[in-house]
Symmetry: C3
Subunit: 678 residues, 3 copies
């Protein structure tokens, strides 16, 4: 993007009165320079089968263009018209709970040929009508696409074909690799394949979920190709990805592989929602942004984030601005609010936009005006900035699925609803975030892993021998890896390894275990780490680690009448690098201590002046090559900071600061420093 | 009613042995003068399709009549015979969870023509056999009727016709008013109507629920008309309404509009169940009674209340009597127990009657004997008493439904199971009850509202412009209204108003808000109210009120680092009256303080001698015009009371008291004073 | 059994690599002398319809035999091949939740003729191939059989026929006994029978569950008869029963009558899982063992128990041995682990065997080696030992079902998922266990009750007049019975008795009640028992007992403002014996006090030296007639013990001890004393 985009989702169709001109006037006054439209309102454009009416869209395009507001057109395929579901019931997905009923969005079968036929037609018609309009800068294909649990017989049939190919038709190989003899689940004829939705074989269930994730990638790719037939060279194609939802964007999605699905896009788009008010930390802005940025090693669009939304998100004064610049500091090229105006009907009336239901300026809107102004001013410096991180977090959809089947917490088994995988991933990510260690986020198989000094691998449970061997090699050649418990336990088919654990990576960590137990009144003790009593508690899971040789360092041991001879955290030099292994979940404080100790030990360059949360430091390099340092105060108290940066000027105030200057950042405050020396 | 009715539900069919004579002997000894029979036992009277046998009923009628016990006959239509469900499966309701299975009562489709055919036949046969029997004083049509989630295709078809009429066939109007463009839910052909049970459009869902409530009123009206063909002029027709059930009668029902459905009845009947033992407060007796009395501005029948029932309800000594006179003091013409004898089989064996399973006298029965005696003695004075209240509580089925869709508590959305609406309604009602401010309860559109000095409107969320304008007028002309948060927010179709909130009523309250948030560590502060720290806490919801002018009084503000410039409670003179608005849920203590302050401010006449709960004061006027004052001690401690009443005599003891006398009311005690000067 | 069996479940089919020889080597080294195979792997032996391959089994048999390891063959019928479910969907059970889908084990319909056809064929083929193999010492029919909620129309039809016979075709009798007039549930034609899965009539529901339990007994009997056609005279037939599962073996099963179902077996087999680590008490080992032993008054097989299993069960050092000898002390003839090797795939990868996933020796395996050695040494003394208890606990499947319908705890009604019956049964059992009072466990109708001095009857709710009269007679003739609340309340059809409660047994306890209530701030007070404040609290349920005469002793009363005239615990001489009745749930401490007081009062011979938990004492008589005393330390602290036993030698160490010697038992320690004088 040439300039920072500041946008809103705009639904003229939902408004209780005609006020396009008034809306545009208020948008302009707030510095809004892009609107996202059309992705939710298929039935408004095709009210009856084959009757099209894009006049609403065209009017918006004309009027926005008149006022130099750009438009992103969404293909309206994630919410079906009622007449389509009525006429062709087969468009509704068949799920383990039965066939979906019409009403909610995202209940269709994305593999249904009937759905695809109608989806293609509305996409083609909409694009034919709008693509060449000068207001249009890009397209969003579909919205927050998942596979919506689709598992109808045609999906299962295709999956079986897929598996048959993978196993070259050899059921014996399949039975052996998936352990199907168990509970008499063998498959000796491909025709005898059992229903997938009720399988208790985790290997089979996980393979099916991987296949379902691929359906999402294929569907998006299909839409991108359609759009390519219409778009102009300067127009981009994006998608709006979402994250595991825990009333806000929390973690990796089990239903979509962000890395694969974003490949056909020109630029990755995401929505990022996060706790607000006293609970605002910025961690989700950073986490989701780091994923989005890493997918294509590039800037990304925040197509949706909260303006007021829920009653517990309405920002305190200053927070909206803090949030906006935090997105930019992670590499966002756009900050877009969902949505312009609060809704007056239907379902999400509680989810407030930049305007309240009264459609008038309000305190939040006034803060947006300030942001819009600053974006416009700083766009030349802040658009197109680059990040350069030395640490990467490894994530894995396969491990997420596997931990759903084999959770470490609690005594229930079978598919878990709450993704414990993300609990650990976020526990590691958040520790890094609070230490101001910036990271990229990628998959274990990504060839880019070699460019980092340190890889963080929480719950890397289900992963192939080759992948782990690559990590061993990475260490041997001087890299560093930090693993959590359960890493390396099973292969990509969820078959538990039958070597002494953690099997393939054992040689790099210099330790192993045979027993794992549930801790009861267990704490950690360490000669190396500073542990404080309360924080050193171990819960849920512990692996009884034994070192393989004297050169393995024990960073922490368990304190317990019977398990105290076992290690909890070990560290080991292997070739030119090191591997560290943590055998149990750690509290935030202890994990922070382990990471700090590790970074010192491996002399990782972290240039954050020792600042820690609630002060958040982010670095970047501007398009012109200047160094940027963002400083955020994520607290309700003003903070004194010694500037950890070569001298430069602060962009929002224009003041100059020398290195080591002491400045005061107000509550929820922002400062951005630029130095000519990168 | 000429005399107080003291009754029991009697099921000769359920008894494990022949003992009609013994039962009548015990009833007579306890002063029981009416039994209610037949409403649950269709299959006993029609054991096979078209085979009728009313001999059980007729024997009971004869024997009761012999001993001057009257009988209320129930039409036995709320529990189907098994053969009917087997022969005609279509009588079972189709619900969002599928077609009901036979077993439980109240699982049929009250709109099924097959059901209606059989129901009509059993009603006609039963009435033909019994109506002219001299024991019969009245009829109860069906029992605790609701619509039982019926939503089969015929119901939905009729609803669509109903909506089509309402919108004069204009789908555009429907789409606009209900906001159906949202998530592509537009309906451009009436034939394309989506399934209602899965809609996410709150306007549509609420309209359907309103329609379903009308089905209940229609069904009861149909039964009343049938009964009219048989009953004698002196025989009444009633129905047994129930209330929102939270293991006891708690609040307004979402499934039936008590006010509309009671219109065709001669007298309203209800069942009232309430916490017992240490948890007994009498609030439910008063609340449900106030609704029942207001429906027809008349006395009402308590057709069911607890004798022993649950293990946590079995009354302490004195409580059964306290309860009985509390019903009378609210205007009940009958106190009927469910039921005479505890059940020996099936489902409700845990729900004990006046007799335990041993069918012998017991301590509770002995207390009933005392009540029966006193009822007989005092009947001339206490039968047909009238109430005259100056305060009314406004309730609204539409707002209940709307708050189910858009709850103020928690972060879940979509249809809520627990009716938060009733939480607030009861919070306001209970505050009034504990202050000894007696109220009537009516709907916002009731023309009778004009006869009150003060209207209390909790969560009046979904209400038409006209209704609110009438309330504005009421204030202008000298009335007083107290609104809670969220009142006036949306119109009758749940469309949120797009004026500055609370829109129509803003002018009367002299304040408005744009933002609402979830409180976190927020308390109230006030120069006007006496707040004590712990009690002044705000939870769940807060509207950030701003006064519109200097004449608006701020009774309380929020204490919070960022929201302290906003008001929480405002009060405003408008015309000759005042309006008060409370922007957040209040604790019982604070709400009590606000109401007390308001009543003083508007100089409301409350003649309760300043007594408060656990002393409960109720006033009434006897048929002969004398003034009655009931005094109840709802506690396990005896209480000293200065009599807040013109001198008179106490009816239970016969003693005379001068005004200002000090008397001691024992634990769970009752006193009733009569003064000749009304 | 001639010798102690020490075994594992072995699944060659599940192993990730060929290692039969290595496994046998490790087994031999650990003293494993029996393996249990084949019960889970039908699809491995019949990979396609009619294609059989028993080579895996035969290889295992040959190689085990070569190394003198015996084999128990399981019929593989509890887990179906996928092809069978695909070809004949009718084999899957129809349940109240719909037709089961394939995947999980134990989802079939055990009454389906199609299933029975295929099950018979695989059983016959497997037995024909293996039964005469010299390695085979016995057979296990099916595994953990229940009825899996089967309630398809054919099951219901047969049940109705069954009921018709029971009531000699007389629906009036049925209606009267089951109280079907209630809620119009009468059945006046057998053809009109309603669906059982949705009935609200507890009598009907309980009768159906009793019928379903019979299906289990019939199914097992059918399999036993099949096996009889193949087995040799010296080979036994067993079954692996399980217990109510609360993440471990907790109580009596609602779905199987262990006493009836074990009749056709030669020896009863069970699986026993229990809390481990700090939560290990041995109570489940004793409880389940006592049931298993009593079924046939003989030794029994522990076919499955935990080696490592769950993360919270992996034993502390010493615990595996403590557990093993605890089984033996209760009369087990075999201790078998589930399973040899941890699973690498599918579902139960978390359930670890004797070997971890690495298939190598580990600390738990090493402890097993020690056990194997000691079993081999002590087999001549410990095999075939007998118990001789003077106390019996009465259990009742009917009462379990009845309490599910009419729970004493909470306010919910209808079928309860959590069996509150077992809460009380275990509360009584555990009190006895901790007092070192050993018991047998039998059904109320068992003629063997007469051989005991004291019967303990918790929640004996649903039981016939005759049975209770037999208990009255038992007392009259000098026996002693201890009843809990709710005992004797209803007859075998769940019809509540309409005499003053507890009806039939009232004369023996010398007390009765009419009222029962939920306690609120109620404690017990006693002149007889030593009660400590906190422990004397009453929760959930209390019967207001009144004594019938002066000779009834009141052991405890309620403390409460209104209920303090009522008794809580009464004791009464009746004929030559006594009956004791406890009207409310008691805390562990108070219950222990009541039992202790009772045993003293009736001068029950308990020869345990006054030792109490965590010291556990078990007595037995060896095959040669010598007396054995097992002493267990169920704690992490070592314990000093004065030996409560005639002098003898300790079998594990060979040391001799005189009576009254003081010895120290280490944490989780075991000692076994033998004396020549029995």
């Amino acid at each position: 993007m040439e300039k920072l985009l500041y946008g809103v989702a705009y639904y003229r169709e939902y408004l209780p009165e005609e006020r396009l001109d008034e809306d545009i006037r208020l948008m302009k006054a707030a510095g809004i320079n892009v609107v996202r439209i059309a992705e939710s309102t298929w039935s408004s454009y095709e009210p009856r089968d084959g009757e099209f009416d894009f006049s609403q869209v065209l009017t918006v395009l004309d009027r926005m263009h008149q006022h130099q507001i750009s438009v992103i057109i969404g293909t309206p395929t994630y919410a079906l018209p009622g007449w389509l579901a009525k006429k062709h019931p087969s468009v509704m997905a068949e799920t383990p709970q039965g066939v979906n009923k019409y009403g909610h969005r995202q209940k269709m079968d994305i593999t249904s040929p009937v759905y695809l036929f109608y989806a293609e037609r509305i996409i083609r018609r909409l694009l034919a009508a709008t693509a060449r309009h000068p207001a249009v800068i890009g397209f969003q294909v579909d919205n927050e696409t998942k596979y919506y649990d689709t598992c109808g017989s045609h999906v299962q049939r295709d999956f079986v074909q897929h598996l048959k190919q993978q196993f070259a038709g050899d059921t014996d190989k399949l039975n052996a690799e998936f352990g199907l003899d168990y509970w008499s689940n063998r498959i000796d004829d491909w025709e005898d394949f059992p229903p997938l939705e009720s399988t208790i074989n985790a290997s089979l269930g996980a393979a099916f979920q991987r296949y379902q994730r691929e359906l999402v990638s294929q569907f998006l790719c299909w839409q991108v190709r359609l759009v390519h037939e219409y778009r102009l060279p300067q127009q981009f194609v994006t998608h709006n990805f979402d994250f595991e939802w825990r009333t806000w964007s929390f973690g990796v999605r089990g239903e979509v592989d962000h890395f694969v699905a974003s490949r056909p896009l020109d630029i990755t788009g995401v929505d990022i929602y996060h706790p607000g008010q006293h609970a605002l930390t910025g961690a989700e802005i950073a986490f989701c942004g780091d994923i989005a940025r890493t997918t294509k090693d590039n800037n990304y669009l925040v197509l949706e984030t909260q303006a007021q939304a829920f009653k517990n998100w309405t920002p305190y004064p200053g927070q909206l601005r803090l949030q906006a610049f935090s997105h930019i500091a992670s590499g966002a090229a756009m900050v877009g609010y969902w949505h312009w105006h609060s809704l007056h009907n239907s379902y999400e009336t509680y989810w407030k936009g930049l305007l309240s239901h009264d459609l008038q300026p309000n305190p939040v809107y006034h803060e947006a005006q300030q942001i819009g102004q600053q974006f416009a001013c700083l766009s030349p410096t802040l658009a197109g900035l680059k990040k350069c991180n030395h640490v990467a977090l490894l994530v894995s959809n396969d491990s997420l699925t596997a931990i759903d089947w084999h959770p470490y917490q609690g005594h229930q088994f079978g598919r878990h609803k709450q993704h414990q995988y993300n609990d650990q991933v976020r526990s590691y990510y958040d520790a890094l975030y609070r230490l101001n260690i910036e990271v990229d986020v990628l998959c274990v198989d990504d060839p880019r892993v070699n460019r980092y000094q340190l890889l963080i691998a929480p719950l890397l449970y289900a992963v192939s021998d080759q992948s782990l061997q690559r990590l061993n090699q990475f260490v041997e050649q001087g890299g560093h890896v930090l693993y959590s418990f359960k890493s390396g336990f099973a292969n990509q088919h969820l078959k538990v390894r039958h070597q002494r654990q953690p099997a393939v990576i054992r040689e790099t960590i210099g330790a192993s275990y045979q027993l794992f137990v549930e801790p009861h009144e267990v704490t950690l003790q360490s000669d190396v780490l500073q542990l404080d009593g309360e924080d050193a508690v171990v819960t849920d899971w512990m692996e009884l680690l034994e070192t393989d040789g004297a050169d393995t360092e024990i960073w922490a041991r368990y304190q317990h009448p019977y398990w105290d001879q076992y290690a909890a955290v070990v560290h080991h030099q292997y070739g030119a690098g090191t591997a560290t292994y943590i055998g149990c979940p750690l509290t935030a404080g202890v994990l922070s201590g382990v990471i700090t100790h590790l970074t010192r030990r491996i002399e990782l360059t972290i240039d954050n002046g020792g600042l820690r949360f609630p002060l958040v430091v982010k670095r970047a390099i501007s398009r012109t090559g200047s160094a940027l340092l963002f400083l955020f105060n994520y607290s309700a108290q003003s903070q004194e900071v010694t500037l950890p940066f070569a001298g430069g000027h602060e962009l929002l105030t224009g003041s100059r600061f020398a290195q080591g200057s002491v400045l005061t950042l107000p509550d929820w405050g922002v400062a951005i420093f630029e130095s000519e020396t990168a």
